[in-house]
Symmetry: C2
Subunit: 207 residues, 2 copies
């Protein structure tokens, strides 16, 4: 197609485009998606922030995708009905795939309670480039933390359908990693993810 057009435009430039390996060479690491899933209050965003900071310090280009930058932008037309939630995760999955196709290391922090939706994200990404991280925490602890006061609203009925209270959370069946934020610090959790990224050859090991 491109060579057709070039010929047609009567030029001699022979371009081969920039592919993923060229971008990965430029960046010094591979594109990938770290998908943090877990209850509200499990610690996903805290881990995402710390992980991003550590990786950045090692020269890795990260992109954090979370409710803040997705729900207020790309997905600001979506609500919280089941089909909208599904579409929310579908678009996020596609954006993560796009980002990683350009060499970026994405860190996603979404409750993403449904197995089917997370498996879709995995299916469109290369298997080796998708790291599903289950941020596991007992409901009581997440509810006690309640950083956004959402559990309180869920219990009072103000939020009608809330994961863990009035809507299901489907635990990952074979995530790449399980983190327990009630037993480890967020920094320890982030370092466990780093180990997986190194083991998969997505980032190089620190010498």
């Amino acid at each position: 197609m491109n060579s057709e057009r070039s010929k047609d435009m009567n030029i001699t430039w022979h371009h081969h485009g920039v592919d993923i390996s060229g971008r990965e060479e430029l960046l010094g690491h591979r594109g990938a998606t770290v998908w943090l899933t877990g209850l509200s209050g499990s610690g996903k965003s805290t881990i995402a922030d710390i992980l991003s900071e550590i990786l950045h310090g090692r020269g890795v280009l990260t992109a954090i995708l979370d409710g803040d930058n997705i729900r207020h932008g790309l997905n600001n037309d979506l609500g919280f009905s089941p089909p909208d939630r599904k579409e929310n995760i579908r678009r996020i999955s596609e954006v993560a795939k796009l980002f990683s196709s350009f060499g970026v290391l994405n860190i996603l922090a979404f409750i993403s309670p449904y197995r089917e939706d997370r498996n879709f994200a995995r299916s469109i990404q290369g298997e080796n480039e998708f790291i599903e991280v289950y941020v596991e925490v007992p409901l009581e602890i997440a509810e006690e933390r309640d950083p956004k006061g959402l559990y309180k609203k869920a219990r009072s009925g103000e939020i009608p359908s809330f994961t863990g209270i009035s809507a299901p959370y489907e635990e990952p069946e074979s995530p790449e990693l399980v983190l327990k934020t009630h037993e480890s610090t967020p920094e320890e959790c982030a370092l466990q993810i780093i180990n997986v990224l190194e083991a998969k050859g997505i980032i190089s090991s620190e010498s």
Copy 2:
């Protein structure tokens, strides 16, 4: 919010996150969006490819967004009705903004015939980070090139609503750059965009 959560999780890590300036320092250039608009067959994709290649050679991380990677992924639920076309460009605009918020230099190649839609893209991006490039070519020449055989289908009525034939193209009123692919080679066009990027301080000038 994060400090709340951290406190709640009883940790002492003081993270300030990674912001856009940190990422731009890592990459050595600023995030921005080069938005190529023009008729089908005007040469947008060819210019995008060459521009990406030149920039990559200068160490700039680029992402090309075009029909191929958007219509088959993120926007595969959208057709070509007026509201779907609008939603297509809205999502693309949001993705471009996301990419540039992480320091990536986006190159977008979409007909994007409506002023209102392009202006939306500009409005959500920083004014200095949005480079609207009108790839101008007389309709006769674009139709003669017809790289995808779409004009033929449009003339025969097989495609009912086709920009330039049976649907309007609204020319940009004050684009950052106008390129005429019937007068310059795609490489010359790409170099003109490089000049704008340098002048705006998005990439550094070659010494």
